[in-house]
């Protein structure tokens, strides 16, 4: 056979060998590409949870949005990695959404808690303006009457109820409500709050105003926030056997913290997370670099330590879509689609051999090679395989056959026109190529648009389908034209070629 054909044939055999080894060996490690172990399966095939969040950009200038979304995505990635989920897939979608896929995660409430909260840490101290409740209020009320409403201003944060030292085991911390004042009626001394009270409060219970705890750095007054944290971790206290979140300040943070704690000895320091007062321990001594937050259960402490150590999210997130797929449903679907795939493949092969005989058999063989190549690419890229992806794969097998059919019909015509076997084959392939090229390009255009559509619609499923179809069709063009042709060119040199009838349907 021609020298070039021989080279191509060898090349193909090498590729097939490579593909087979990639597919047969589960865990592989290649240079440049890295480690791969097993095929990457989508959520609908292995079970797990998909969460989609939308970012609230209302106060943020449009120039900063993309940057903030990217930063948010990175922080979420760190949080989830620290939490220990294997192989999460976190992507930004469209211009304001983040999609989080957590395979195999069953505790989705935990995951949502971990991810959805901004985790903005602030510190409050008691500001001037201690007052008391003058009229009994019940849980669910949104107003409270005090002695002197003039002590307060709208926007102030107040606590209503006695504050207990959380180190006191017997203390019942569920005695205080922390709220923001939205309106003040000076005449009736009524304060309107931003949300309804959780508890009842009797006459005489203290109403305390809190302000952001701040210190001075280089002459400038700065409030102490979570941005100064160097790190946070969860620890078990040996005396009480309870979990605490231990945090460490960086240089400036330590300076502020020591100023504040120095000032507040004997008074409570409010620790506020996402505008909720979670703890207000009484300061015992001036502390510089470290501190602890106690009073949380193990899961809460773990989450908080992760949220603090990864930093606050630069935007507020709202959960807009949540989907959980049970692992057994996933395995079931995978199983069924594999069977369907094999059945389809067998039917197609049978048809090819029956109708096109030797050409058909060769094309069938090329099809198997095609499947191997495509799966290898999926494993190496890696492309996450979903149910829709498998559908795309099977669809592209149909299209792969199409290219072969085009070639063979042409060859048939050339043979009928009276050409010899070899020239008929060559002419057939040449004539069919424009059809194959043009018709597949239209499919490519559709794939690109589908991919864009999937991104806009935050559907990883649609994007996966588009990508799979694109790869499938591209590889099918390659195998149908180059592989089948090489085989045909090789086989006509064998005695089989003399029985032309075998080649003509």
């Amino acid at each position: 056979m021609g020298r070039r054909n021989k080279l191509i044939l060898i090349g193909i055999i090498l590729l097939v060998a490579f593909a087979s080894s990639v597919m047969l060996i589960d865990d592989i490690d290649l240079p440049l590409i890295g480690e791969r172990d097993g095929m990457k399966l989508g959520l609908d095939l292995q079970g797990g949870t998909n969460l989609i969040y939308e970012a609230d950009f209302t106060d943020i200038p449009s120039g900063e949005r993309a940057g903030r979304l990217g930063e948010t995505k990175r922080i979420i990635e760190r949080r989830i990695n620290q939490y220990g989920v294997t192989e999460p897939v976190i992507q930004t979608m469209g211009s304001d959404r983040i999609s989080i896929q957590l395979p195999g995660v069953t505790e989705i409430e935990e995951a949502k808690d971990l991810v959805g909260h901004t985790a903005m840490l602030e510190f409050w101290e008691q500001g001037g303006g201690a007052d008391a409740v003058t009229e009994e209020v019940k849980a669910g009320d949104t107003q409270v009457v005090v002695n002197g409403a003039s002590r307060f201003s709208a926007g102030d944060i107040i606590t209503i109820g006695p504050w207990q030292d959380p180190w006191d085991e017997k203390a019942d911390r569920a005695l205080t409500d922390a709220r923001t004042i939205t309106a003040i009626d000076q005449e009736t001394n009524t304060l309107t709050l931003d949300s309804a009270l959780d508890l009842d409060h009797e006459r005489g219970e203290p109403v305390q105003r809190w302000i952001a705890a701040s210190g001075t750095i280089d002459g400038e007054e700065m409030p102490l926030t979570g941005t100064y944290l160097k790190g946070a971790s969860i620890e078990m206290q040996s005396q009480t056997n309870k979990p605490v979140v231990s945090f460490e300040w960086d240089g400036d943070g330590a300076e502020l913290f020591s100023q504040i704690t120095g000032r507040l000895i004997g008074n409570p320091l409010g620790i506020v997370l996402d505008n909720e007062l979670i703890s207000a321990p009484v300061v015992r001594s001036q502390i510089r670099e470290r501190g602890i937050i106690e009073g949380l259960d193990v899961d809460g402490a773990r989450r908080l330590s992760i949220q603090l150590s990864t930093g606050a999210l630069p935007v507020t997130l709202t959960l807009v879509r949540e989907q959980t797929v049970d692992a057994t449903l996933g395995k079931d679907s995978l199983h069924k689609s594999l069977i369907a795939g094999i059945v389809g493949l067998v039917l197609v092969l049978a048809f090819m051999v029956t109708y096109y005989r030797v050409c058909g058999a060769l094309a069938g063989f090329a099809l198997l090679i095609y499947t191997a190549f495509v799966l290898t690419i999926f494993k190496l890229v890696p492309v996450t395989l979903s149910l829709a992806g498998i559908a795309a794969l099977i669809l592209s097998i149909g299209m792969a056959v199409d290219a072969n059919v085009l070639n063979f019909e042409r060859i048939k015509e050339e043979l009928r026109a009276g050409k010899g076997l070899k020239p008929a084959i060559e002419a057939g392939f040449d004539r069919a190529w424009p059809s194959i090229r043009d018709s597949n390009v239209s499919t490519f255009i559709t794939c690109v648009i589908l991919y864009w559509f999937g991104d806009q619609f935050s559907s990883a499923l649609v994007m996966g389908f588009a990508l799979t179809l694109f790869i499938g069709v591209a590889v099918s063009m390659f195998t149908a034209v180059i592989v089948t042709r090489t085989f045909l060119r090789a086989i006509i040199l064998t005695p089989l070629a003399r029985r032309v009838g075998l080649f003509r349907p």
Binding site: D326, S333, A340, A391, I394, L395, V405, I445, I449, F457
Partner: protein, 321 residues
Amino acid sequence: MLDFVGKRNWYFLFSALLILVGVVSLIAFGLKWGIEFTSGSTMTISFEQTVEQADLRDEMAKLGHAEAIIQRTGEGDFLIRTRELEPEVRDPETGEVITPAEQERIKEALEQRFGPLEVKDVYTVSSVVAREIGRNAAIAVAIASVGILLYITWAFRRLMKPFRFAVCAVVAVIHDVLVVVGIFALLGGIMGVEIDAMFITAVLTVVGYSVHDTIVVYDRIRENTAKRAGQTLEETINNSILETLGRSLNTSLTTIFAILALFLFGGATIHYFMLALLIGIITGTYSSVFIASQLLIVWQNREIPRLLRRLRPKRALLKEA
């Protein structure tokens, strides 16, 4: 030798009827939008024992979800569609759960009444979402059509009037889309089949596939026009169709085998997706041969203006009288 071209009016009639059924369904039923386009929660539950749908509906109503739409998918399997379920409420200080997620409460209540069950799938979409999706889908189809229009015009640039080829191809595509959408509107109205993101994916795939098919016929027309310059357009197209028929049928058959396998054996989640693809590919093949190519002739012979003129004289008569 079969004459495809001569009978073209029959094909148009058939297509018109098909599309009419679809349009009527659309007007009568509208499209049944799935959960991704509206908001709410869908749960797939598998009970160990047989459960009566009426009892399940009753229980859901007791749990505060009289609006629940319940579909039986198997002996003890149901798909329950409700408005958005409430999430978990935790005590912000202790992290303890005050109210478990509504999903959990419903599961427990159902378990108590109907025995052991398994929640296979939960999908919740908040009302924040359901918006421009329909618009995006239409835009996607439009962009695809334009892209294809441009590409075909360029690919067949050496032919006379390539733009016509492109337009006829796009008309064939739109025809296919209308048929698929129409049939699903009908199914939605009669059987409650829903439209989801995968359906739109199927429609877009059909767009790509339909053009794929049409181009193969066009390619042959291009070749024949160059080779046999003496023939009329009708003869050329007829010959081209005959020559490519074998190939068209074979390709469609192999693709249909593949999809049929998935339709019959694949999981329930892609069932209707496969159906949409199946219908789309069949019409795609049909439209390449019976619509796109025929339209070229209709255009060339100016049959539409002639048709209109035949209708007009009646109006003129009325005026005179």
